[in-house]
Each structure stands twice: as structure tokens, then as C-alpha cells.
């Protein structure tokens, strides 16, 4: 079968997807079928929280694709995530219709507030779901394409690339803070009512979004794994390890890089689009360089160049964040900072690398015993 072929030799991926499948079955059962009050019952807010983690995990997979396999440390993937989120947010904004505070069917509330008379051109079409979904893919993809094409063609690599990706998301952060941009300025887009006619407050919609996030994660994972297993993936890894050599062998290195970078940005956009309806808000804060760099640490903790490590890292770090910001808000930043330092110093291969090390040791011992 197609999927089994992709997952050949990917023990971690098999386990991860199996667990994901289990979760995707178990959570709806615990939430919808187990009656409230039963201690096995899973409250809806927890489902939404899990859904949020899953979108983060998809984002981490996208980052791992470029960082782990292409060797590009992108400090701007939060920008693609946020752009996907904004595209979805714009659709949700249009869905509000005349139920806003000002009751204007043609304009979102913040535009009425800013005294705008008509919908700006870049908001046109966002009342159609299919168009918005297209934009979720196209806007981050196009930005990544143009940016990547410019950067890779002039052979900006390594740290320089990292810094200009950071500058990119910083510039977008500043831009989206401006009211004149027409994306709600400081407050962003919020107060969403429903999606495709289903209320965002209902348990069923939330469950659907959760399941969709899980499926998107599985799909994104398989796509990345497929790319890496393909011939193109081999070249990508070759570029990571010896860029000049690959170029001299005759490959157009820039083309491969741009291609993978764009795919990764689109995945990040999808993650953002799934994130927004579950969280209920998108604001310029998502563009902050800190967010982008946090994504990188998820991947680093889980283990670069494994994909499933990224999923593991994203979920673990965010779970820890939820727990510690709830218990001791001050301590979380210290822990995050310490994580950055300790992981880079002592755990360069991440958790996945740790597992592999243990496995290798066990294998060696068995060999020695035989």
C-alpha cells in the first residue's frame, strides 16, 4: 500500500501515526459518547487545547522539513503560519455578516470603526470558503517562493538567511500592527461566529476541527516523508550536507531549495488556518520573532531531521508551557531559556536522537553477547 511504502524504515513515524490515530478515535469517544460527569469524560476545552497542539505539531513538521533536511534555519516560519491564520480569519470575519457590533453586513466591525466606506480589494472574495482556503495555501506559498527565489538565487545561506527570515517576520509584525493595513491592526481579527454555517462554539464543530487538525498533521507528515523518500528528497539532503558539491555535480540547487521552502511555508499556512478557528483570534503578535524562534526549539528538543521528533517536541513543549504558565507564570520563561541552552549543549540530536542512541547501544550489546 502507498502509505506503508512511505513509512518503510520509519519506525518513529509508524508509532507516531498509530498514536495519532488512537487519539483521533479516543478523544471523540471520550468527549461525545462518555456522559458528562463521568470521570472518563473529556471536556471540550481540552479537545480544543489538543487541537491547538496538533496544529503546532504540523507547524513544527514544516520547520523540520526545511531545517532538518534542507539545512535552512528559518526564523520566520511563524510569519507563514500567521498569514495562513489571517486568510482563515478573514473568511471567518466575513462570515460574521451583520451580526457584528455595528451590524454592517458589508464591512467588518473594525473597518466601520475606522470609518472605511467600502471593502478594500484584498478582502474581496474572502466570503467564499474555497477562495479563502486557496489563499491559505497561496499567500504563504507565494511569499516563500518570492523570498526564497531572491535569497537562494543570490546564495544567501546559513546565519545570514536566518537573520533575514527574522527580519521578514519582524517587518510583517510592524506592518500588521498598522491600522491602515486593513487587517484589524493591534487587535487583529476576532469575535468569530461560525464556519461554513456551523457555530464555532458548538462541541461538534470543535470536535470536527480537532479531527481535521489531526488528519492535517498526518497528511502533512506523510507528504514530508514522501518528499524526503523521493529522489528529490535525496538531493535535498545532499544540498544540506554539501551544497557546493551538489551544485557542481549539476543540480540547480536553488530550484530544489525554493521548492521545498515553498511547500514548507504552505504547510505552515495550513497549520495557521486550522489554529485560528480553534483559538478564536489572530493578531499581529503571531508574527513576533519570538514565536518563530520558539518553533525552532520545539524541533530541536524533539530532534532535527526526524519529523516525528518535531511532532513530539511541539506537543511536549507546549504541554509544559500550558502547565507551567498556569502554575508559575514567571518560571516558564526561565525554563524555556534553559531549554534552549541545555538542548543545544547536551542534546544536539533531541529526544529522538536520545532514543536512537539507546537503541544503538542495545543493539551493540546484543551483538557483543552473540
Amino acid at each position: 500500500m502507498f502509505i506503508t511504502r512511505i513509512l518503510q524504515n520509519d519506525r518513529g513515524g509508524q508509532i507516531m501515526l498509530a498514536v495519532l490515530a488512537l487519539v483521533l478515535v479516543l478523544v471523540p469517544v471520550l468527549n461525545l459518547l462518555v456522559p458528562e460527569g463521568n470521570f472518563l469524560h473529556m471536556p471540550t476545552y481540552l479537545v480544543t487545547l489538543l487541537g491547538k497542539y496538533l496544529t503546532y505539531a504540523l507547524l513544527a513538521v514544516a520547520v523540520d522539513l526545511v531545517w532538518g533536511y534542507l539545512g535552512i534555519l528559518s526564523l520566520g516560519h511563524g510569519a507563514f503560519f500567521a498569514l495562513g491564520g489571517y486568510a482563515m480569519g478573514m473568511y471567518l470575519m466575513r462570515q460574521i455578516g451583520d451580526r457584528g457590533v455595528y451590524g454592517n453586513a458589508n464591512l467588518p466591525d473594525f473597518m466601520v470603526f475606522l470609518n472605511w466606506k467600502e471593502l478594500p480589494w484584498f478582502w474581496q472574495g474572502f466570503d467564499m470558503f474555497w477562495f479563502a482556503m486557496l489563499m491559505v495555501l497561496l499567500v504563504p506559498g507565494l511569499l516563500a517562493f518570492v523570498f526564497g527565489w531572491l535569497a537562494f538565487r543570490s546564495r544567501v545561506t546559513g546565519v545570514y538567511l536566518s537573520i533575514i527570515t527574522q527580519a521578514l517576520t519582524y517587518a510583517l509584525l510592524l506592518a500588521f500592527f498598522r491600522n491602515e493595513m486593513g487587517f484589524g491592526g493591534n487587535n487583529g481579527l476576532t469575535d468569530f461566529k461560525d464556519i461554513l454555517g456551523f457555530s464555532l462554539q458548538s462541541d461538534n464543530t470543535r470536535m470536527t476541527l480537532f479531527v481535521l487538525s489531526g488528519l492535517a498533521l498526518a497528511g502533512g507528515y506523510l507528504l514530508c516523508r514522501y518528499i524526503i523518500n523521493s529522489k528529490l528528497g535525496r538531493i535535498v539532503v545532499a544540498i544540506r550536507d554539501a551544497e557546493s558539491r551538489t551544485r557542481f555535480v549539476g543540480y540547480r540547487v536553488e530550484h530544489y531549495k525554493v521548492w521545498v521552502f515553498t511547500v514548507s511555508a504552505m504547510l505552515a499556512g495550513v497549520a495557521g488556518a486550522l489554529y485560528v478557528p480553534q483559538v478564536g483570534i489572530i493578531n499581529p503578535g503571531e508574527f513576533s520573532p519570538l514565536n518563530s524562534i520558539e518553533i525552532v526549539i520545539w524541533v530541536a528538543i524533539g530532534g532535527r531531521a526526524t519529523l516525528y521528533g518535531a511532532v513530539l517536541g511541539a506537543i511536549l513543549v507546549n504541554y509544559a508551557k500550558t502547565v507551567f504558565t498556569g502554575l508559575m507564570p514567571e518560571s516558564w520563561i526561565f525554563m524555556l531559556g534553559a531549554l534552549f541552552v541545555l538542548v543545544t549543549l547536551y542534546l544536539p540530536q533531541g529526544l529522538a536522537g536520545l532514543v536512537q542512541q539507546f537503541q544503538a547501544k542495545g543493539w551493540l550489546q546484543r551483538r557483543a553477547a552473540a
Binding site: 543570490s154 546559513g158 527574522q166
Partner: protein, 520 residues
């Protein structure tokens, strides 16, 4: 009982007196005594005569009385007729307030100005000459000409002739008006501009035309000074950028270490200034001279600590260094939040930093910006000297160019690494002292400068101090030039986009390193 009452009244009165209390008539000068009966008449016309008398006398002693008359604080003793200045309305029955009205006040003001023009202090003369500018009457003009001839101070002279030219604008003779207009062309005084604007509608077309031309030349000059001001703002912003980036130019440019905690080292410097000021609250004026070395030591020591504990293990792995130092930056920020306060802390400016250097009425350069520019150049020169002319600088350059060879020559590369990083971090601390004088000091201070700093270093060309200076200053100027028509935020975005595009074109910056040192 009655006696004590009177006594307290008297006491109160003398307390209320403004300048040295001239209660007795014989203490007042002759002209003042002359004016007394005129004031006593209690009619505006007579008072005006009295003012005239005082103004013509040139008696400087009369100035405080006229000033008091203006402020409604001049009283006359009913019985004795002596003039009394009382700051408070509570003066009792013996005193009568000398009434004024608007036209009289205007008159008195001119008289005060005229009198102050013969004051021995040039500063007072200049002030009064400037006050007179728009109120010079033909009668006063003759007297002013006399004063102008005697005047020795050039600034007062200039102000007086300006006032005279303004008076000439009202002259009946057309030729006089025309020469006056001509002499006013290019003058930046706001009063001149207003006066000339009204003259563009003069009934005489020739005069109106001349006024228009003079106005145009004034506007051109003003625009020129406006550009100079923008340039100055740009240079001061650029100096801030250079100060923030120059430490990075060493750690990133020379050592190749990505230090994302650089901004936090700047922040530590700013907080050091705060703490120094807390320790010496009575000597704020001198606090910066203590804060600069203190900040250098604090940030430098922190830098060495970071280098020895973390960065040392990550040489040759720039991306990992980036992540680890980012973690350090988070920890330092949170440390400041927990230990000091999550809010901004107040840092005061020394008195010599406030105020401004007035070049003319359009252009004035604030001292704090001026000092920042000078300070930036000083730091740059020092750093350049250290890298060029000291043993440490030689070793730093040797290690950065070829580590193995330098080690073979007996350079202790690990020590040099630590010291170089300490130097770069110390400079960041010094930059923090400068920033504390310009912006709010809070835990996020450094974060807002880190991206800008990297941009400056990358734009200027890594490993090139001159590049950093040129890049920082030019980015500052470009930012300020764009600001008026694009707004501050958009200007910043445009500059970022410009740099991103620039790096595509010239990945190694404005001044790339050439030859072997460039190899990586």
C-alpha cells in the same frame, strides 16, 4: 494692641516687597520721584506720561516698577505717594493699586524693552531687543538708532537692526520700505515672516512683489535648515544604531559568533545606569561618568561568563549558537523582570544633557542627541584604536583570520576569544548607558534593538568596523528622511525591506572583506 497690629502689617508688607524694598521716598531716584505726582492723578493719560518720563530717562532702576505695573503689582502709598511693589493683593488700606488697561500695558511693555536696552548686561539687552522686534514705533526708532551706534555686542546689534528694519516696513517712503524688505530677505525670525505675509497684499505692487520674493527666499532658507535638522536627527538615530551594533560588529563580525543576547547586554548596561543613579541620587550630573565604566564592566563580565559557559562549546556551529544565546537572552530578560521590576524604571538625565543648542530660530539641536553623536564617534574611535594599535587587537585579528596559525604562533586563542567577547559585550553595555538617556529602560529594551543591530552589521559588511559606522549612520538618515512622508513604522518597514533586497544583491554587505580573510 493697635500698635502690634500696625507692626505686623508693616512686617507683612516688607515681606511682600519684591526687589530691595524702597519704602521711603528719598531712596527712590530722581526720575521716579518726578513720576510720582503723575501716577497719583489716577488717569490713564497721566500714567502714560509717567511711563514716557521713565522710558526716556534711561534709568534702569525704573524697570522693576514698570514690570510691576504690567503685572498689576504696582501700588502707591495713599498718604506718602511712594511707589510700592507688592506681589500679593493683600496690602491693606493705605495702598492704592495703579490701574492699567490693555493699550497702556502695550505701551509699558515697549517702555520696559527700551529701558532694558541700556542695561549693562548684554544678555538682558538681547532679550529686550528681541522682545521689541515687532513693536518698534517710529518714535522709538530714532532712539534705537542711537543705541545701535553705541552697541558693542553683535547679537544685540543684529536684533536691533532687525527691529529697525521691521519698523521701516511701516515707513511712508516706498524706497525705505523696499530696502527694508530687501534687508529682511532670508531672515528666519517668525515675526518677519508674518509681517512680510501681510505685506504681500500691499497696495503698491512693487512692494508686494518684493515682499513675495523676500518671503520665498525665507522659505528656501527655512527648508534648507529643515533638511539640516532631518540630517541631524538621522545622524543621531544612526549613532544609536551604530552604538547598538558596534559591539555586535566585534562578536559577530570579527569572531563570527551569533549573539542573540546582545540586546540584553545593552539592557544590562541601561539598568547599570539606573542602579548607579540610585546609589548616587545627589550627583546625577556625574552619574554617567560612573555608569559608563560600570556598565562596561557589568556587561563585559556577563559576556565573558556567557562565552566561557556556553558559546565556547559551540564554535563552528553558528545555528546552535544562535539558539543557545537566544535562550540566554530570555533568561536575562526574565531575571531583570523578577529581580528589579517588570515595569520600566526611571533613569534621569543629567542637567547638562537637557536643553538645546540654538543655531537660529528654525534650527536647534538638542544636547542629548548632540552628545549621543559625539559619544558614538568617541566609542568608535576607541574601539578602532584598540583593534588596530594594541596587543589585544593584534591577537584578535590574528585569531579571527587564522585560528590555527595564530595558535601556532603562541597566541592563547581561548583567552583571546573570551576577551574579545568580553570587549564586544562591554561595548554593548556602554551603548546601554547611552540608550538609557534616550528611551525607556525596561526588560524589553534590548529586544527592540537586536534585529536593527544585525541589519546594520550585515548591511555594512561583516568584519568591518568602518562598514558598521557607515551603515548605521546611513540607515539612520534614510529612516529619518523617509519618516515625514511614510510615517515612522512604514519607514522602518521600508528600510528592512531595502536591506533584505540589498543582501540579495550583495550578500557580503557594503564593504565586503577581501582576500583570504573573506574565505569561510
Amino acid at each position: 494692641m493697635l500698635k502690634t497690629y500696625d507692626f505686623t502689617r508693616l512686617l507683612l508688607l516688607s515681606v511682600l516687597l519684591w526687589v530691595c524694598p524702597p519704602l521711603q521716598a528719598e531712596q527712590q531716584s530722581a526720575t521716579l520721584t518726578q513720576a510720582v505726582p503723575l501716577f497719583q492723578a489716577a488717569s490713564f493719560d497721566k500714567t502714560r506720561e509717567a511711563v514716557d518720563l521713565l522710558a526716556v530717562s534711561g534709568d534702569a532702576e525704573a524697570v522693576p516698577y514698570l514690570q510691576a505695573l504690567l503685572d498689576g503689582q504696582l501700588y502707591q502709598h495713599k498718604a506718602q505717594g511712594t511707589l510700592v511693589i507688592a506681589k500679593d493683593g493683600n496690602t491693606g488700606d493705605e495702598l492704592r493699586k495703579i490701574p492699567t488697561n490693555n493699550s497702556l500695558r502695550k505701551y509699558v511693555r515697549a517702555a520696559v524693552g527700551q529701558l532694558s536696552l541700556s542695561h549693562p548686561d548684554a544678555v538682558v539687552r538681547l532679550k529686550s531687543a528681541n522682545g521689541l522686534l515687532e513693536t518698534v514705533t517710529p518714535e522709538m526708532a530714532a532712539q534705537l538708532r542711537g543705541l545701535l551706534d553705541k552697541e558693542t555686542d553683535s547679537a544685540v546689534k543684529e536684533a536691533l537692526s532687525l527691529g529697525l528694519a521691521m519698523a521701516d516696513l511701516n515707513a511712508a517712503d516706498k524706497a525705505v520700505r523696499l530696502t527694508a524688505i530687501e534687508s529682511l530677505a532670508g531672515n528666519l525670525h517668525p515675526g518677519v515672516r508674518n509681517r512680510l505675509t501681510t505685506m504681500t497684499t500691499d497696495s503698491d505692487t512693487e512692494v508686494a512683489k518684493a515682499a513675495q520674493e523676500a518671503l520665498r527666499s525665507i522659505e528656501d532658507t527655512a527648508a534648507l535648515y529643515g533638511h539640516v535638522e532631518t540630517l541631524f536627527f538621522g545622524l543621531s538615530l544612526g549613532s544609536v544604531l551604530v552604538l547598538a551594533a558596534i559591539g555586535l560588529a566585534i562578536t559577530f563580525g570579527v569572531m563570527g559568533v551569533i549573539n542573540m543576547a546582545h540586546g540584553e547586554l545593552i539592557m544590562l548596561g541601561a539598568y547599570t545606569t539606573y542602579i548607579v543613579q540610585q546609589l548616587m541620587p545627589h550627583a546625577i550630573d556625574y552619574s554617567l561618568f560612573v555608569a559608563v565604566p560600570a556598565a562596561f564592566i557589568v556587561s563585559g563580565a556577563m559576556g565573558i561568563l556567557i562565552e566561557r559557559t556556553v558559546i565556547r562549546h559551540l564554535y563552528g556551529r553558528p545555528l546552535e549558537t544562535l539558539l543557545a544565546t537566544f535562550g540566554i537572552s530570555l533568561i536575562l530578560q526574565q531575571l531583570v523582570r523578577t529581580v528589579i521590576s517588570p515595569q520600566n524604571v526611571p533613569v534621569s538625565n543629567p542637567s547638562w544633557m537637557s536643553g538645546s543648542l540654538e543655531i537660529n530660530s528654525v534650527l536647534s539641536l538638542t544636547y542629548n542627541r548632540l552628545y549621543i553623536v559625539l559619544f558614538c564617534l568617541l566609542v568608535f574611535a576607541l574601539l578602532y584604536f584598540v583593534l588596530r594599535n594594541t596587543n589585544l587587537g593584534l591577537q584578535v585579528r590574528a585569531v579571527s583570520q587564522n585560528r590555527a596559525m595564530a595558535r601556532a604562533m603562541g597566541v592563547r586563542s581561548a583567552r583571546v576569544d573570551a576577551l574579545t567577547f568580553g570587549l564586544g559585550s562591554g561595548i554593548a553595555g556602554v551603548a546601554g548607558v547611552a540608550l538609557s538617556q534616550l528611551t525607556n529602560v525596561g526588560p524589553n529594551l534590548g529586544q527592540s534593538y537586536i534585529i536593527d543591530s544585525f541589519m546594520v552589521v550585515v548591511f555594512g559588511g561583516v568584519g568591518n568596523l568602518w562598514g558598521t559606522l557607515v551603515a548605521g549612520l546611513s540607515l539612520g538618515v534614510v529612516n529619518k528622511v523617509l519618516e515625514p512622508w511614510a510615517g515612522a513604522v512604514l519607514a522602518k518597514i521600508l528600510v528592512l525591506v531595502f536591506i533584505i533586497l540589498f543582501i540579495q544583491k550583495r550578500p557580503r554587505g557594503l564593504f565586503p572583506q577581501k582576500g583570504r580573510a573573506a574565505g569561510d
